[in-house]
Chain length 558, copies 2
Amino acid sequence: MAYTIGVDYGSNSVRAIVARCDDGNEVGASVFNYPSGEMGILLDSNDHNLARQHPGDYLAGVETTIKEALAEAAKIDPDFSAEKVIGIGVDSTGSSPIPVDEENGALAMKPNFAGNLAAECWLWKDHTSVEEAAKITELGRAHRPQYLAKCGNTYSSEWFWAKLWHCLNVAPEVFDAAYSWVELCDWIPAILGGVTDPKQVKRGICAAGHKAFYADDWGGLPDKEFLALLDPKLAELRDRLYEKAFDASEKAGELCENWATKLGLPAGIPIAIGEFDVHYGAIGAGVDEGTLVKVIGTSTCDCGVVKANKEVADIPGICGIVKGAILPGYYGIEAGQSAVGDIFAWFVNHVCKGDGETHARLTKEAEAYKPGGIGLLALDWNNGNRTILVDPLLAGALIGQTLHTTQSEIYRSLIEGTAFGARMILERIEAYGVPVTRVVCAGGIAEKNPLLMQIYADITGREMLISGSSQTCALGSAVSAAVLAGSENGGYDDFETAQAKMTRLKDVSYKPNPESQAVYNELFALYKKLHDAFGGVKTEDLGKVMKDLLSIKERARA
Amino acid sequence: MAYTIGVDYGSNSVRAIVARCDDGNEVGASVFNYPSGEMGILLDSNDHNLARQHPGDYLAGVETTIKEALAEAAKIDPDFSAEKVIGIGVDSTGSSPIPVDEENGALAMKPNFAGNLAAECWLWKDHTSVEEAAKITELGRAHRPQYLAKCGNTYSSEWFWAKLWHCLNVAPEVFDAAYSWVELCDWIPAILGGVTDPKQVKRGICAAGHKAFYADDWGGLPDKEFLALLDPKLAELRDRLYEKAFDASEKAGELCENWATKLGLPAGIPIAIGEFDVHYGAIGAGVDEGTLVKVIGTSTCDCGVVKANKEVADIPGICGIVKGAILPGYYGIEAGQSAVGDIFAWFVNHVCKGDGETHARLTKEAEAYKPGGIGLLALDWNNGNRTILVDPLLAGALIGQTLHTTQSEIYRSLIEGTAFGARMILERIEAYGVPVTRVVCAGGIAEKNPLLMQIYADITGREMLISGSSQTCALGSAVSAAVLAGSENGGYDDFETAQAKMTRLKDVSYKPNPESQAVYNELFALYKKLHDAFGGVKTEDLGKVMKDLLSIKERARA
């Protein structure tokens, strides 16, 4: 019997699981909440776009969770012993780049940068670099349209180059001190592998391709001439980043003696290439051609794959189409919604000032309404729109309130708003020739919220299947580690076999109700009108309203 | 020393005051909350458009409040005695028509109509007759454009004919049993005067002109030919309504022996013609040419006057321009917002589920934000739009929410939304040649909410003056009674003198802050875009969204 470890870095915590290679069962697990900041996120009360994390939390977390998960496995599974662990896989949020020194140490962990937010990890949902992202889009369109074509034609403030450039603009002392920058999902495997030279860190093509304009087609990262258009210092930095990025058929390294001792694991076991959480999550949910995996949490990520020997059209507004980003030998397609669970949490915490029971009460009340019966329509853009408008400056909207509108009606309309947003993505992907025959949902919300899942089924008109693991991302990382270890060590020789053995679906699924679907089709037509008007797709008159509001707000607060 | 009584029928209660004729001081007052329904309003849980009231509550209320106000006056003012009361004035909400029998008795008070909501008083904010109102608008435009021109070119579901027609359509047994229909503001004076024949009830031109298409120009009420286009039964009813309506220079009657005994007042004292609350409120706030009086409460009414010897253009979207409706010898202009205080109450009660302290807390927090600093914009249409779109089917909207938006930011944006709505009205009136050189605000919100008043000043760019009386409507009724009684009885011979003596402003006023004004001008431009888009003025694409939502909702709930 062999086991692999999957480590999953989320927005507020990291978790590790120990998975049995023969059936994927999780025999040990542990969660570690990042101790710094607010729920693990370093904030700036003067700038709600800022979201950073402390790399020290990541290191404390990986040690604690792996040890605890191993201890639990030893208790639960009589067959288990730590020597039977044949590999480790790591996934994380992203793009979450960390500025590092020449020894691959995080700047934020050095005394002279203590308290400097720019030296911390720039969490995926940091939106401080909106202006830089817009400029990259503009320069990209003018000079390197091929770069943008692979990431939906608009560069996002959530992404690598925008964040680095913003750091250069607002905290040049950090930028200058950084020898290199490493994505969190690449940094942890390198640390576990004992890599002390940033140029030796093996970078995953997932982060590189989706967030950093990397593609083999044009020789890796963007060329220096283009980067110099942003800033000559970014062009210089290119030499200190990486030449090549790798898919999951490569290993990131092998567990070094130091960490092996610390964790009580065999030294030398392979460490999988790091991927983003949802990409390994897609693998953990059994992604294959025709399957869309939706990981539904605070935000949502949608992943699909298409065999790399086929033509895939550039899909406008999609976060990216990157060869090898999810499964080796496939194009990985990524889309997503910038906020889903976060919107419900906002409404409950900030608007209702609710307590621990409020979600449950509102869900129960919201179940009683018929589709269309609330007379409300919400745009799910409280955190901007990632797909298909790729515009972090868009904001939420609620239309149709009367003097009788209730909390739970608004709550339901927010759920419906996210479902309409999900349908926009589905239709966009299909419109560009990527058929979706199966939708598998993963994540806490998918597992625990039957009302939401039924609404998603009714609004998209698709059956919603649910991933069998409640730790789909960590499981995907463990699957990747099992493939890397190979069958000779008790793992597998290819992802298809590994997924077939190690992943499954839950028995429950949600099928669209034709009556509800008909009503929601009407509401979706209205949603599209709002989407296109406020998104600036169709109606000039309203297309700038949200942005004008924001710039007025920023001036008022300045 | 002489005194007059003002009786003011509001949406949830009736109040009476005893006013000294020499200085307008209120020496006695009493409030009576209508005992029936929810806060005095009979509701239908299946139809949130329905709002009725029980006429029995009105009769109990007038007796209780006048007696209590007289008793208080006797205690407070050593000069006072009931024999010194020289007149009574009555105002009420409207259009609030009551179906009556041949003796002017309310049908709802007869045993065979007990529990029949259609037999009760149809409160101003009853919106059940939306379809009938739309048909009246259509027929009016085609056949009698002159009728519609005087009431903003659109007939409202809040008005007389729409309500009667809807009663005929949904409760023909009530319509058939009603000998006639009398507005609440006309019914009470008639009751106090002992009038037992509906055709002898002296109707005020205020209700008749603003809500029932009455004008001397075309011989009173709409002609039978037109009414027959609605329904032949409405044409028949015309003969059982009234030939002529009167302004406040006429009396409605004299206090009958029966009620004089009941109330302890001299029989035979004059009873003023009934007007709507805000019309007498305008008089109580000192309305004259160039002054706009805003009565700000659950909803808002805006009143102005123009000398009747001038030309007044028809103003599209205004509730009405009626000669004699407020002051004799002047055109009365009425506009308004369907919900103001009601929107804040909705947010606090239904969304925040707040308690008695919530308004105060949110107001305090909302004060801390700078104009524009909240990044939100609200359409103040939770109860439809009365002026200038005249569309009860419009609904509220909130734009610009992030994941950080707070309760008090939303609260402030709702206040701002109503202020933008107020500015739309002001600009519309001025655009059609009625200059506004002074704005006087009255009502509880104007008196008690400095934040709101400052926002109104900043958004409209006008100084907001505050009426000196906290019972401006009742005071206006008392002023009208004093004029009717005449100087020979201790009253006055004209409204100008009576207003100068009996009404005043508070010392406090709110002046626009130029910096705030500049920011709000920008926001107002955005508000107008939303207004025009969702109001269907400019953008076809969104102009029907709210209505489509509503019809989907109605079908879903059916």
